[in-house]
């Protein structure tokens, strides 16, 4: 049977279709990846059972084990190639490493005689994958960490000061407007309100200046007289005086000081930031060679909110997708084909029964059926089967219809063919005919349906998981899970998670779509749609 297939005309036609062959190769790669991951799972399991080895420790072989899906590969929410985004992103990046170092040295300081770990072991346990803390004696390390933290502190302060300076300028504008309104007050205007507003306006400047000076630790950054002058005017306004000394000059003075300060602080940030980043690189250096390479490769697509490698998660999801697609495709095609062939072949009540059954199932919009079934499995009565098994059941029950219909139609046509009728007339048993004639001639349709359903299952998983009806979100990774988690990130302009998931899924689905088309062109040229 297999040989007959490969010798058929259709297969030859398919082979000549270069695009289809490329797609097949791509699919093959994905399958290979999935199989490799699954075999690593087996190897690891064996290792654990026999206590011989722990695959989770190895960087490459154990990279895709399920239990490693939780670990952090770097700081949270960095973009591709491990680069943080934006000023705040860069600061958070630095903060991440310093916090790690701080926790490490704190824990290491607590190591006494009673503990079962050495200082080195403790420090190592806080490494960020391959980036280990610098090999220094503990007191030196603590000093370094403190130095780093103080740089970060200065950076944060500098940014606060920029903000404060800008705020002062905003308050100056507001106060000017208020004072102008007061000066232009007519008869109908409520003078006391305008005075109070102007007073508040001026007071806000004072508050803003105080704020600045507090953070800067200099209580004369803007000069004492300036503040006094402002206070005087504010007091007068609060007391109900409209006639107040002209403040334009004072405002200008404050504004220029604020501008100068803002500039200085901003420059400070500009210089300190690279310094801090370099500090991180010395404190927790990226190693050379293979180790460094594997660290950087993991960060190729960036990290999610918890610092997990998006590349690894996306690839792991491919394994899940292949699993789902394969099992669903296989079961749905097997069940559907069997039922369809039986219906066509045995006819009569079997046929009516099967037709009735699939008419019922196909009366429901696919997504509704999927949703209802998944729901029943996920939170309804069949809760214990949650997770992948329930997903398989829900899909199989929904997707069997397609193959069933197609195979039934084709089988009915074959049944009418002369040589089949001849075979029956000669006396060959029904099962013999079924296996020798009907199944081989519908095999190509089964393949086509398999590839169509494969894609359908992958896309369906994504949608169901997103709706909360598929895989539980807190367990492992799948493209559906990644896209769900990416939703809130997209809002903030972070596209790496959705990008990584979509890219890998896209390639696989595209390959399958091209293959399905090619299969249909080769084996079922009369198809439409």
């Amino acid at each position: 049977m297999i040989r007959r297939f490969f010798n058929s005309r259709g297969w030859g036609k398919l082979r000549r279709n270069r695009l289809a062959m490329v797609s097949l190769a791509v699919i093959g790669c994905y399958f290979a990846l999935a199989i490799w991951m699954m075999s690593m799972d087996v190897v690891s399991w064996v290792g654990k059972k026999t206590d011989a080895w722990d695959l989770a420790e190895t960087p490459v072989l154990g990279a895709f084990l399920a239990e490693r899906m939780l670990e952090q590969s770097g700081p949270p929410s960095v973009a591709g190639l491990g680069k943080p985004i934006g000023m705040v992103g860069r600061l958070d990046y630095i903060d991440f490493f310093f916090s790690r170092a701080r926790t490490a040295v704190d824990e290491a300081s607590n190591v006494g005689e009673s503990s079962d770990r050495t200082v080195t072991e403790v420090l190592d346990s806080f490494s960020v994958q391959e980036r280990r803390l610098l090999d220094l004696p503990l007191p030196d390390l603590i000093e370094r960490v403190e130095e780093g933290e103080s740089i970060l502190g200065r950076l944060d302060d500098a940014r606060s000061l920029v903000n404060a300076a800008e705020t002062i300028k905003v308050q100056l504008d507001v106060a000017s407007t208020r004072l102008a309104e007061l000066a232009a007050a007519g008869e109908e205007d409520d003078l006391s309100i305008l005075q109070e507003e102007a007073a508040f306006g001026v007071e806000e400047i004072i508050f803003a200046i105080d704020d600045y000076q507090a953070v800067a630790g200099r209580d004369d950054a803007f000069g004492f007289e300036v503040v006094d002058q402002l206070q005087e005017v504010a007091d007068l306004l609060f007391d109900g005086e409209s006639e107040v000394p002209e403040l334009a000059a004072v405002f200008d003075e404050i504004r220029s000081t604020a501008n100068a300060e803002a500039l200085t602080q901003a420059d400070g940030v500009e210089t300190l930031l690279p310094e801090a980043e370099a500090f991180v690189d010395t404190l927790l250096p990226v190693p050379d060679g293979i180790a460094g390479l594997s660290y950087s490769t993991r960060l190729l697509f960036g990290t999610d909110r918890q610092g997990r490698s998006l590349l690894i998660r996306a690839l792991y999801s491919a394994k899940i997708a292949i699993q789902v697609g394969f099992i669903v495709g296989l079961t749905a095609v097997l069940i559907g084909s069997l039922l369809g062939a039986a219906a066509a072949f045995f006819g009569g009540i079997v046929d009516h029964g099967v037709t009735w059954l699939y008419s019922i199932f196909s009366s429901f919009p696919q997504l509704v059926l999927l949703a209802v079934l998944s729901f029943m499995f996920v939170s309804g009565p069949l809760q214990e089967f949650r997770g992948l098994p329930s997903l398989y059941m829900a899909f199989a029950l929904t997707y069997w219809i397609g193959p069933c219909r197609v195979i039934r139609g084709e089988a009915m046509k074959i049944k009418e063919l002369e040589y089949v009728q001849a075979a029956t007339a000669i006396g060959f048993g029904r099962f013999y005919i079924l296996i020798k004639h009907i199944i081989p001639n519908t095999l190509h349709l089964m393949f086509i349906n398999f590839s169509l359903l494969f894609v359908g299952a992958i896309k369906g998983e994504v949608i169901l998981t997103f709706l909360g009806l598929g895989l539980p979100l807190g367990d492992g990774a799948s493209w559906g899970i990644m896209i769900s988690q990416a939703k809130s990130e997209v809002v903030q302009g972070f596209f790496w998670q959705i990008g990584a998931a979509t890219l890998f899924m896209f390639i696989l689905v595209l390959a399958f779509n091209i293959l399905s088309d090619a299969l249909q062109d080769a084996f079922d040229p009369k198809h439409v749609g």
Partner: protein, 419 residues
């Protein structure tokens, strides 16, 4: 007990201080019996009461509009001297002594998604909004938490409301594995507590806008520990101590400890939070088995004492620690609010004592004792309190949002010139 047609007396069997707070909660508003009997389950859609507004239309999850009640009894805006300096800066003092409400109509819009709410606010359509976590950095600086100058320039002001939250992960004290009051059992729970890094949760999921603290008493209440840290604290991460405690509990390096089932509800980013918990506990070889269930199942399991560990939160009904300490009072065990089924006779006795006490130094001291008792026994991992950031458009006046009592809506006014 009725005094006359408009007055009635309530006589308590014993003085209970919180009763005053209870009276202020919306659940004890005055409603006409005939209306409740008539509408039955649909009373919420046809409310009749004594408030400042009359319900016009309520479309669940969409909008609620109400018009001013012409028959509202006289309620005056708080007097000048009741407003603090900061309140004055927000111009809250202006309408002092005037009769509320000031507006003819009030419109609430409920948003299912954050994005439209945020956009509506920016457009000036709505007067007040909470700042959703995803948009926090558009109005505030992510690290310094300061309002951005450009926002200030638009006349938008902000308000920060620390919530009376008690977010925790509870243990069922009657569970075979995790419950119990012996030193070994306590050590196990303390070990788990020490391995959890609440600061990481705060940074990742709440933008760093939460306060992590010891004990069940939220910030700003009597009994809240100074600086958030109590004299005895098991706040993590302290992996060294965690491992030590694990060994004390009889599970050196996690050996022999079965997987711990942790139940939490499915919504929001709980799934991701649970992943973080799993990872943090894995550092000390504790295997956490998350069970994400829908909310009603979670309630059911905790009520039936079937959940060894569960994720919950408690929001104080009124600003008094007694409300939170009641969670540990043994008569309140499941299916009551004491989901931990914590039973400590000494604690119970103290609780009964403070029920009748007024706020005082003496009472605060007892609060602290009770708090420390609970921390030592570790019936939960905690605690976190969220800080809510609000933004208010220039045209909305007299807005001072709080999340306990919602009567502040009656003070609102609008300045149409600024719309």
């Amino acid at each position: 007990m009725k005094s006359d047609d408009h007055n009635f007396q309530i006589i308590l069997e014993q003085p209970v201080y919180r009763f005053l707070y209870v009276l202020a909660m919306f659940q004890t508003s005055i409603v006409p019996r005939e209306a409740v009997e008539f509408h039955g389950d649909r009373f919420a859609f046809n409310p009749v009461g004594t408030g400042p507004f009359i319900l016009d239309e309520w479309i669940p999850k969409k909008s609620l509009t109400a018009d001013a009640n012409p028959n509202y009894h006289e309620v005056l805006y708080p007097a000048e001297d009741e407003w603090t300096r900061d309140d004055r800066r927000n111009r809250l003092h202006r309408p002092a002594g005037q009769k509320v409400p000031f507006v003819d109509r009030i419109e609430f819009t409920m948003f299912v998604e954050d994005q439209p709410m945020w956009l509506r606010f920016q457009a000036g359509d709505i007067g007040l909004t909470q700042v959703p976590a995803e948009y926090f950095e558009q109005a505030f600086d992510g690290r310094t938490k300061r309002l951005l100058p450009e926002v200030r320039q638009r006349g938008v002001r902000h308000d920060i409301v620390p919530l009376l939250d008690f977010i925790f992960r509870g243990f069922n004290m009657e569970d075979e594995l995790l419950g119990g009051y012996t030193p070994e059992k306590r050590a196990l729970r303390q070990a788990i507590h020490l391995a959890i890094d609440l600061d990481e949760f705060s940074e990742t999921f709440y933008q760093g806008n939460t306060i992590q603290y010891d004990g069940p008493i939220p910030p700003r209440l009597d009994g809240h520990p100074e600086g958030g840290t109590a004299p005895v604290s098991f706040r993590g991460p302290n992996l060294q101590l965690a491992r030590q405690k694990l060994a004390e509990a009889g599970y050196p390096d996690g050996e022999g400890l079965p997987a711990i089932k942790f139940y939490t509800s499915r919504g929001g980013n709980n799934a991701e939070q649970v992943e973080m918990m799993k990872r943090q506990l894995a550092e000390v070889n504790i295997n956490l088995q998350p069970e994400l269930v829908d909310f009603s199942t979670l309630i059911e399991f905790t009520n039936n004492k079937k959940a060894p560990m569960f994720g919950f939160a408690w929001s104080s009904d009124y600003p008094d620690a007694e409300n939170n300490l009641a969670l540990f009072y043994s008569p309140n065990e499941s299916p009551g609010s004491n989901h931990y089924n914590y039973k400590n006779p000494e604690f119970d006795a103290l609780y009964e004592k403070i029920l009748t006490m007024e706020p005082s130094e003496e009472r605060t001291a007892i609060y602290e004792r009770m708090r420390d008792m609970v921390i030592e026994d570790t019936p939960y991992i905690g605690s976190m309190a969220r800080t809510r950031y609000y933004l208010i458009n220039e045209w909305l006046l007299n807005a001072k949002p709080t999340e306990r009592y919602y009567a502040w809506f009656k003070f609102l006014d609008v300045d149409d010139s600024k719309r």
